[in-house]
Amino acid sequence: MSDRPPLPNPIRPAFAPGEHAGTSIVNIGPSHPATHGTVQIVAELSGERILRADVHCGYLHRGFEKECESHTWHNLIPYVDRLNYCSALINDFAYCDAVERLMGIEITPRCRYLRTLLAEYSRIADHLTCNAAMLMELGAMTAFLYLVMLRDYIYEHLAAVTGARVTYSFGRIGGLANDLPEGWLERLEWILGQYDEFVGRVHGLVDRNRIFIDRLRDVGVLRTADAIDWGYTGPVLRSTGVPRDLRKDTPYLAYGELDFEVPVGIKGDNYDRYYVRMREMDESVHMIRQLVELLPAGPISVDDRRCTLPPKHLVYTEIESLINHFKLIIDGPQVPAGEIYSAHEGANGELGFYIVSTGGGVPYKVHCRAPSFVHVGGIHRLLEGYQLADLVPTFGSVNMIGGECDR
């Protein structure tokens, strides 16, 4: 072992030991049990207080954008799923929406409501994951188990419609892969009942608990102006007290027809981020119940041969459908030349896709504006000045997802 040269350091920290007397530099991560996701933080400490933090991401970089340039528009969907793997359906729908807008396709009413419903369902799963992990890291094992149990109900339930628990590949350009199976909506109502019961218990366990208030209140405080300057969107921005939500501000899918509130925090600390997510889940449940009532009958995919696969029985019986199927699989859907930036409200904030097409079945460029990446860019602002131990809940409350951050 000793004759092997040391491995090169993959990062260059922004500061070196010995710049200030009496401080020490510690390295946290990239693989640390208290940071879910591989992220590395080089922190300068005075005692246990963080003076400066230099955050390095990229350990989950897998060349998403490069890979997208050599696959057909449809074949990207499994990659898109793996951006924010806690709410993969929202990624699917945001990507499909961008391509559909470029192609000038209007999805069917049932698809529009169903996408909205599934997106909100995914948002609940994402927020459950975030809050469960944050509370567990502070020692709240019971709250963790309650929330993760609910998440597992949702995963199993989504598996019944999509065939997978976490990464669904369920969106299609122009529609969805399947319609809902028999009895799905009845089970949904049962799960929402369980949600009410167990999230209520978590509220009882945590909200006014002295330990959590002391650990969360006035820690990792972010002001609105700073949040906007650093590009924060989603629950983190809302926790600072501004009701900025794309679902309200620039309604897409069926959000314009739904009744819901945009919960905001008071001062943008860890407690507000926890509470905004809890309240947003309630709003999502409220939206889902409305959507179940509104859900119209009808086809789930547009009848457009440019993107929708023909029915299998026609592929096997008539030559036009066989050729259509072949061309869609081998050449990909033909997307007209152009560029588009399309954004949805992801679970973590503005999830934007900037897509450039030169015409044809393969994208020229797919760029994902990932909320987590932008948030990690400003996360040192939430860490500096607080205790080293506060890093754990602060990092948890921002909900950095390596998949979309590092792409």
């Binding site: 060349g63 590009g231 501004v242 450039v356 504006r369 860019g377």
Partner: protein, 157 residues
């Protein structure tokens, strides 16, 4: 409301912009690289575009100048977006940094720098961010082969 802002921006910058068009609900401006910082300053100060959403680039290897540097701005007051583009050459892929205007530009410029080799004049922290120290080349350029490997830790034989 949104249309009004787009029209006012087009009136303010249309003469100096190389192209100005409304496309898919946002105003797309193409300007000279030297104007990027000034247009961004004007968007922020005069038109309320307080959030810089995104910076990326597009590589057109057969075109001169070769790169588009693409910015997306958002106004949290009026809920409208603007896309700002500038074309830079492969010999001098330089634009001015937007860090003095928007702190969110820090990470975005670092990513754009490592992926496309765009230089952001005035940004003193262009360390690799998704890649690692010592990575050779700019992987999102079209002439970077997808299969090229540069393992930091040698593979076990």
């Amino acid at each position: 409301m949104a249309g009004g802002i787009h029209e006012r921006i087009a009136a303010r910058w249309g003469a100096q912009a190389l192209e100005a068009a409304t496309t898919h609900g946002l105003l797309a401006l193409l300007v000279e690289p030297a104007l990027v910082a000034e247009v961004a300053r004007s968007l922020k100060a005069e038109f309320g575009f307080d959030m810089l959403l995104d910076i990326t680039a597009v590589d057109w290897p057969d075109r001169a100048p070769r790169f588009d540097v693409v910015y997306h701005f958002y106004s949290t007051r009026d809920f409208v977006r603007v896309r700002l583009k500038a074309r830079v050459t492969v010999e001098a892929p330089v634009v001015d940094t937007l860090v003095p205007l928007y702190n969110s530009a820090r990470f975005q410029e670092r990513e754009c720098h490592e992926m496309y080799g765009i230089e952001f004049r005035g940004n003193d922290d262009l360390r690799p961010i998704l890649l690692y120290e010592g990575f050779v080349g700019h992987p999102l350029r079209k002439d970077y082969p997808k299969q090229r490997e540069q393992p930091l830790v040698p593979y076990l034989k």
